[in-house]
Amino acid sequence: MTQPFRTEAGGQIDRSRPVRFSFDGRAYVGYAGDTLASALLANGVHLMGRSYKYHRPRGVLSAGAEEPNALVNVARDAARSAPNLRATQVELYEGLTATSQNRFPSLGFDLGAINDVCAPLLGAGFYYKTFMAPRGAWFKLYEPIIRHAAGLGRAPVAPDPDRYANRYAHCDLLIAGGGPAGVQAALEAAPSGQRIIIADDNPGFDSATLAGFANVTCLPRTTVFGYFPHNFLGLAERLTDHLADPGDRARERLWQVRAKQVSLATGAIERPLVFAGNDRPGIMLAGAARTYLDRYGVLVGKRVVVFTACDTAYAAAVALHRAGSQVVAILDLRDSPGGPEVAAVREAGIAVYPASSIVGTQGRLRVRSVTTGAGLRIACDAVLMSGGWTPSVHLYSQARGKLVYDEERQFFRPAGPLPGLRCVGACNGDLPESGGFLGVVPGQRGGPAFVDFQNDVKASDIQGAVAEGFRSIEHVKRYTTTGMATDQGKTSNMNALAIAAQQLGQPLPSVGLTTFRMPYTPVTLGLFAGAARGELFDPVRQAPLHDWAQAAGAVFEDVGLWKRARAFPRGGEDLHAAVARECRTVREAAGLFDASTLGKVEVVGPDAAEFLNRLYTNSWSKLAVGRCRYGLMLTEAGFVMDDGVVARLTVDRFHVTTTTTGAPRVLAQMEDYLQTEFPELKVWLTSTTEQWAVIAVQGPRARAILAPHVSDIDLAMPHMSVREGRVAGVPARLFRVSFTGELGFEVNVPAGQAQRVWDVLWAEAVKHGACAYGTEAMHVLRAEKGYIIVGQDTDGTVTPDDLGLGWAIGRSKPDFVGKRSLLREDLIKADRPQFVGLLTVDPVRVPEEGAQIVPVAAPAVGSHALGHVTSAYSSATLNRSIALGLVEGGRGRMGEVVHLTTASGTIPAVIAEPVFYDREGGRLDG
């Protein structure tokens, strides 16, 4: 197979290694070292995509990261399928399979191109204006049609099978860009021995001269995509996308680099000229044509017209001329182009037309000819254009650097170095004076002149937006979507600004400049996810008895990061049946429960009691050694934040328990007040959550189960007391507490001994007909007793009195966190939500947690709700549903019928006391 546009020699490709690939099902051959774009061009293929909105045929515009047109899909299989890749950056490998996007049925014949015929109707704001009414039609009718017709590639349908690596790094100097300026910066710094990282998104940047320095890390195929505060930068290193067989290697690596100093050597990007028909395949940036020749040995055309306002295009013309293309004309917008490049062109015998322009182009799938301002029609198969160069200030802008406008050279450049950051080379505006042109080429006679190729924004759209009253470039941008595609307007922003400025009659800098955001080029989600997917998505905390629970057939639920056994279904039981059985067993015999996830804080020191006085609502000074008390912690705003049992082990030592998910919050609040408000108190705080395993033994047989295995503690210890001794031979803190309403103990043993103790107690429990129960049964049992769960029955706006916990307030204490707030006007008003029980009229019906509580069966839309359901269960003990909730003035509404919302209508319920079972508390004593 031939490559008709490949030169005989030259370029950095390896002509001894042909590479077969396919594009839209057709087989081609390129060479090792090609990009998809260069290989297609070598085969004479310019048509690589259809435009986003009008489905216009598009060819490659550039040779790099700024490419707006040649976006393709590259797929290895259903899962390894990547849309929207820039063909200019896709490295060729044997068997590469690429397809074009946004066309149906084919790239050459696209039905969506009807949009192009209708283009006059589809200008800026078209969607906003056209699809206003009827409202519902948007979702049902317009949106699906528009989504089908517009848009970029398709996401892969199978899960991503690739791995993504992550690496943190520190360096003295990070250089973004491996062009001449970047390599020079590295060479200057390398002899000092500094740790240097230099990254470039090309596969083989000029790093050979740096190879001798062990302190220099060269990262090819690596994009510096984000510049974050304090010189923290994100780099995306592509490891396998260029390989025919990626094997099991990681596909990409995220580098998170903290650099003492950063040098941005990101170069400059050439600008297109804005003229009618400037988007036909075959029309491209002059610098890109030169890159295709110099790097890849590819001629982009055999009969070339150059349209420029910049000297650099002349060098491209000479290079193509020497390589065998016929350069039929150079049309220069300037009146008297001069300089050495121009002279070289004239020497080569190429015709130069000063003060000339293109005002139209012809050709359906490839440019065939151009029309000049003078009315001349010139046949050609490629047009090289250059409107000058724009420094790539994206990363500098991300670093919050200010840009200044260079009036003479018509570009924005960095205002100067920032602490730890400097720009070098073209990025800094250090470009030779070579001319340029911004805005619409004069003398246009109609036809779409594109500014933003990727988002299909025309010069007339921007002019129209200004005519409609948009003044700020930020608004023009959002209205026309110019610069809002994934290329962030790399080739279009300056022209858009210039057109808006001209239309406004204002100098360009006063129109403003939109902000560049990370990422510089699109980054895969896999890169950010790294290893954090599937089972590694979040850390998993397993309680000390996790393995036993798993072996016992537990179903688990996530509680914070903890895996907790939710229930232990037996032989075919569903969750509901298992929970009902577990509840009944606890009430009739006993149950063992792994409560190890409870938060625990050891509060120690001569001022420990005083400290707790200030942090909890309750009074602690008079709590006797060996006794426990229910503790309630408020925020300073007076709302319930956490609760738990607090035990006094010695005069100066307290064992404080917290809710499972509240533990870090509680310790943080304790540390906050201790460190910053009460530093004079002599108290030490230690988190002991993971040191103690907690085995709850609850039920009428609890004491009998423990008795054979406890010798040095009198189990006649009173309710809400604590003793230290041994359980099953293991040192333990034994609490007599209950969260079920039954006689109950909680055995605290060192986590490492938990299994041993559990095994002993479990063997004993089985003899008494006891069961292991999970969190679901725990919830039901506590709800039957009306015990609250902070975070479920409270939501951060609930006071102790709202919950009926006024008794837990140490009113005689001079102060505690939240006390003053309890006197706030809002917190003492009569219609505060109050904690109540709810009994549905239909006892089988379990309300939905979160359901609104309303006064009538069919409330008017927008009417006021009385409150909401916080907990609801089916109670096996009571053989009916029970629910808890917060209702305005609820304690004064006992017996009232209210209505609970469901997905379909409401259900009636009666307000009741929030204690449904053993109101006298007799069962606590077994």
Binding site: F228, P229, H230, N231, F232, Q256, R258, R400, P419, E636, A637, A668, E671, D672, Q675, T676, E677, P679, P814, D815, K819, R820, S821, R824, E825
Partner: protein, 89 residues
């Protein structure tokens, strides 16, 4: 990601810290003696300056100590960090 100099541990990445609100908001010595307006001011009213701002951080994944920090909210430059009880520089 900010690089925050903990007064006890030295410079560490922001990930290790938790923000803890505006600094130098002293809790009234006797809250019961405050008026509703004074207490509201203490509880809820905070400044949101463009520029120099004193705030609290906790080195949650390090020494777990609270400290104060003066940060420029425009540039994110950290101008100083210092221990609780020390005067703002």
């Amino acid at each position: 990601m900010l690089l925050i100099p903990c007064p006890w541990c030295g410079p560490r990445p922001e990930l290790e810290f938790r923000h803890a609100g505006q600094a130098h908001i002293a809790r009234p010595a006797d809250p019961s003696a405050t008026s509703d307006a004074e207490w509201t001011e203490f509880l809820f009213l905070r400044s949101n300056p463009k520029g120099r701002h004193a705030e609290r951080w906790r080195h949650a994944s390090g020494c777990n100590r609270f400290f104060n920090c003066v940060r420029d909210t425009v540039s994110d430059t950290i101008l100083a960090t210092y221990k609780p009880g020390e005067a703002a520089p």
